[in-house]
Structure formats: C-alpha cells, structure tokens
Amino acid sequence: MGGSGILQLIFSGITIGSIYGLVAVGFDIIYNCTGIINFAQGEFVMLGGMIMISLVGAADLPMWISFPIAVFAVTLIGALFERLCIHPLKKPSILTLIIITIAASILFKGGAMFAWGKQTFSLPHFSSERPISIFGATILPQTVWILGFIAVVVLLLAFFFKATMVGKAMRACAANRSAASLVGVNVKEIVLLSFALSAAIGAVAGIIIAPIALMDYERGMILGLKGFSAAVLGGLGNPVGAVVAGFLIGIVEALCAGLLSSHYKDAVALIVLLAVLFIRPSGLFGSLEASRLKKF
C-alpha cells in the first residue's frame, strides 16, 4: 500500500476518532462532577443519531431545524434519567451506580428498538457527497463537517468552563464537591447539568456521525466502549486528553483494519483500554499521583 493509501486510512481514522473523542468528553463531564462512569453514554449517541434520522427522514424537517431539536430531545432524556434514577439514590455504592447506568442503557436500547425496530438507518450527508482530494487521498465533505463541529464543541466547552459562572461551578465540583457546596454551589443542580450536558454532547456526536456510519438501536454500546477507551487513555476526567486519545485510537483502528485484519478492528480500542488500565491507569496525560487520589 502506498503513501496515499496510508494517508487515506489516517483520514478515516481521524474522522471516526473524533467521534470517540466526543463520546469520551461526555464520559469525562459526568465523571468529573459525580465520580460516576455513565455506561449509558453510548446510548445518548445512538439516540441523537436516531432522532435526527427520524426528524429528517420521516418528519421531513430541514437539517438545521432537526439538529437542535434532536440535541434538545436527548438532553432532556439525559436530564430525566438523572432526576429519576440518580437523584433519588441515598449513598449509592459504586456497584449500584454501575448497574443503574447499565440498566438505563438497556432501557434506552429497548426503547429505541420499540420506536425504530431493528432496521439500520442512515442520514443524508450535510452537504455534497463528492469526495475532496488531498495529497492523493480523498475525504468526504461530511468529514470536514465533523471536524468543524468537534472544533466548535470543544471551543464552546472551553469557553463554558473557563468563562461562565455555571462552568466554573462545575469545575469547582470536580475539584472538591464538599468545598464547592460550602461556597454555595448547588451540587445537586450541577449533577443534573452534567448529565444534560453530556447527553447533549453525545447527541451531537451521534448526529454528525450518522451520515457516514449507519445507525441502529444497538450502535450505542460499541461507540460507548470505544469512547470510554479514549477517555481512559486520555486520563479519566481530562477532556482535552480525551479528544487527543480519541484521534489516536481512531487512527490505530483504521490502520489495523486497513493493514492487518478488519476482523480485529473492534478489538484495538479494547486492547488499548486493557493495556492502559493494567499499565498506567492514569492515562497518557494524567499524573499517577492524582489518579491515586481518585476513588478507584
């Protein structure tokens, strides 16, 4: 395979990797505010994609209207999930939290199957489908859309966490929950907000990936797993690390699929996950000292 072939693989790796990164950011936000790993994170992605597909396909709405509606709907689902299932718990154990988010993911998956059946759907591309050629390799305009959206989401998040009061309150919660509540941060609301925010980010990921990856009710699990691998590789709770790690995993995965065996493509992220957990649980960008302080 020539250089352009490799470049082609890297492009497709970057595309899919950016989605993993976005899913990973969703994990990080909830983890930072609550210490919970939300096993239902991948389902937010699936729901975002599926709702968007229904709005565009069945309801025949234009993309630019469907997009915010789909994101809002998933945000609402995330918020409801927190209010109904996480909020009422008194001193839950980690095991309880794991099972609850797994149960929620089963429920979302079941709901999706109920609503859309088992068929696979796809979404029209946001603009033309004619590939753009770069250095002998080609990329789809949708890839440009995806990277553009990632950049916007990351910038918005950076602004939100650095410059807004609510964002600062969320960071305070992440640093020290009891201290945050002492200085008047309403921790309960922050937790709600973190679920809503990561649901929204998940939905965006699902929507922008839908045109190039098919969507069905079962798609969330594998996206969630790979997103989690990226989150761990980037250092759990570190959104910037998550995006970088997402790209890395995407590229390695694409290279593995293209050069070695497509059978084992899905194993790449998992092997990375296990390797990081076994060798360096703090991830590429986390300090060992800090990870020891976390509740693992």
């Binding site: 919970i36 790993i37 109904l84 299932c85 009422p88 718990l89 839950p92 154990s93 980690i94 095991l95 309880t96 794991i98 099972i99 609850i100 797994i102 149960a103 929620a104 993911s105 089963i106 429920l107 979302f108 998956k109 079941g110 709901g111 199957m113 109920f114 088992k118 699990m221 797993l225 989690f228 691998s229 761990v232 065996s261 059978h263 084992y264 899905d266 194993a267 998992l270 092997i271 996950l273 296990l274 957990l277 076994f278 649980p281 509740k295 693992f296």
Partner: protein
Amino acid sequence: MGAKNRISLGVLVGGLVLLPLFMRNPYYIGVMVFIGLYSLITIGLSLLMGYAGQISLGHAAFFATGAYTSGILTTKAGFAPVPAFFTAILLTACVAFLIGIPTLRLKGHYLAMATLGFGQIVYIILNASVEFTGGPSGFGEIPRIQLGSILIESQISRYCLVWSLVILVLIFSLNLINSRVGRALRSIHGSELAANAMGVNTSKHKIQVFVLSAIYASMAGSLYAHFVTFISPSSFDLKFSILVVTMVVVGGMSSVWGALVGTFLLGLLPELLRNFRDYDILVYGFVLLLIMVFTPEGLIGLIDRLKGAQEKRSLKAQAKLS
C-alpha cells in the same frame, strides 16, 4: 453451614425432586435446565460480587471458554465429553488466573470496564478465528454426554444432571462462605484496609474467588455445549454477561440464595413476556432500574426489610398491650 441454610437447601432439593412429578411438559423442564445452567454461573458471581465485592462484566467469556473448549475438543480432537469437561475447567481456570492478576488490582468502575473489555475481546476472537470456532456461524455436531450407560439426551436427564451439579456447587459455596476463607472474602467487601491489617492476603483471595467463579461458568458452558450440540458467538456476548450480573443483583447480592432467586425470576421472565417478543429487553431494563433505585439490596434485601418492619410493628403492639 447454619440451620437457615440447611433448611433452605432442603426446601430447594425437595422442590427440585417434586417438580418433574407435576410438570410433565418437556418444554418447561427445558426452561428449568437453562435456569440450572444460569444458576451455576450466578452462584459464582454472587461469591465474587456479593461476598468479595468485585464486579465482573465479562463472565460470558468464561462461559464461552467452557463451551468452546468442550465443543472443539470433542468434535476435532476426539475427546469424550467428560474429559473435555474437566479439561475445559482447567483451561478456564488458567485463563481466569492470568487475566485476574492484573484485572483485580483495579477497583470499582475500572474493574467493571476492564472485565467488560476482556469479555468483548474474547467475543471478537470467537467471531474472527474462523478455523477454530467456525466464526460467526459457529459449529455443531457436538456429542452428547454419556454417563455410564445413560446418554444425556432427554430434557429430564439434562434436568437431573445440571441440578445435581448446581446442588453440589451450592453446598461447596455455602461451606466456603462460612469458613476462614469465606470470612476473609467478606472482610474484603467490608473494608479492604482492615482486612489487610488482619493478615488477609486480599489479592490472593480475590483471585481465588474469581477463578472459582470462572470454573463454575466453565462447567455451565461445557454442559450447554453438550446439551444444545451447537454453539455460536451470539450466545456469549455482552448481553449474556450483563444478564447474569442482573440476575445476581435483582435477587440480592447479600447471599447466594439471592442469586438463585434472581436467576429463577429472570429465567422465567422471558416465558412470562412471550407476548412482548423482542421487547422483553425493555422490560428487563425497566425492572432492573426499578429494583436498583428503590431496593438496591435486591429482592432478598427487600424481604428482610419488610420482615424487619413487621417485627418492629409487632413489638410496638406488644409494648402497647403491656
């Protein structure tokens, strides 16, 4: 073992003996066979989760190792089913030991994700290594088990075999729980720090119980392969791992009896939900969520709590009378 356990065990054995006398329909006996297979796995998981406090979302992998080892050895290497059964146990124990050493150093969410990742990798291997496993379409013609002159083919013979094994495993596990090793396990769940300070080698005991639970799952896998005579990866996916964890949690992690209650309930649920067809996972998710939010200690815990409340009430009533 304690009087309470002995009575429960007696009731269980009595029920199991009487059941086939009243329930002649082989279909329902078949359902009971599957509940027995699940029970083997959930008893082990209950030791791991409820007693040692460690979660595993990858037990489908050990179920698969048992099934595929038995299947491959009997169809391709000329083994008889019984030696294959024990070879599978040995192999699964080795796999569990090797994967357990790095994995069980992790805690909480990390442990859950690592075991989940391991389970998925095994699932991918089952699909991908076509020459050994037949790939996604699996392989068949696995021989049935021959015990002396009896061929385990009818539903009732399977029922007897699997439930005898469940009872043995149950007695073994109950003995273990109320012993030096069992207390050491439970102490890890209570406070790992203090357990260590009392001289309990926590990592060793965690690995021991992890391997034991893997062995139980391997037994179930081997029996499954020889009962159904055909295996394919779809029986060993993440859904399976989650289902067995769910059974343990729904019943209640605080005792192996909880695991059995949960296994019966969730094993029968598909029969009750037949009208829902595929949508049963909706009901699963809902039931699981309700139980975790309102009674995280499971049904056994709920019963204990209700009993406690009733006792309090009757004590109050007595106090009023006097």
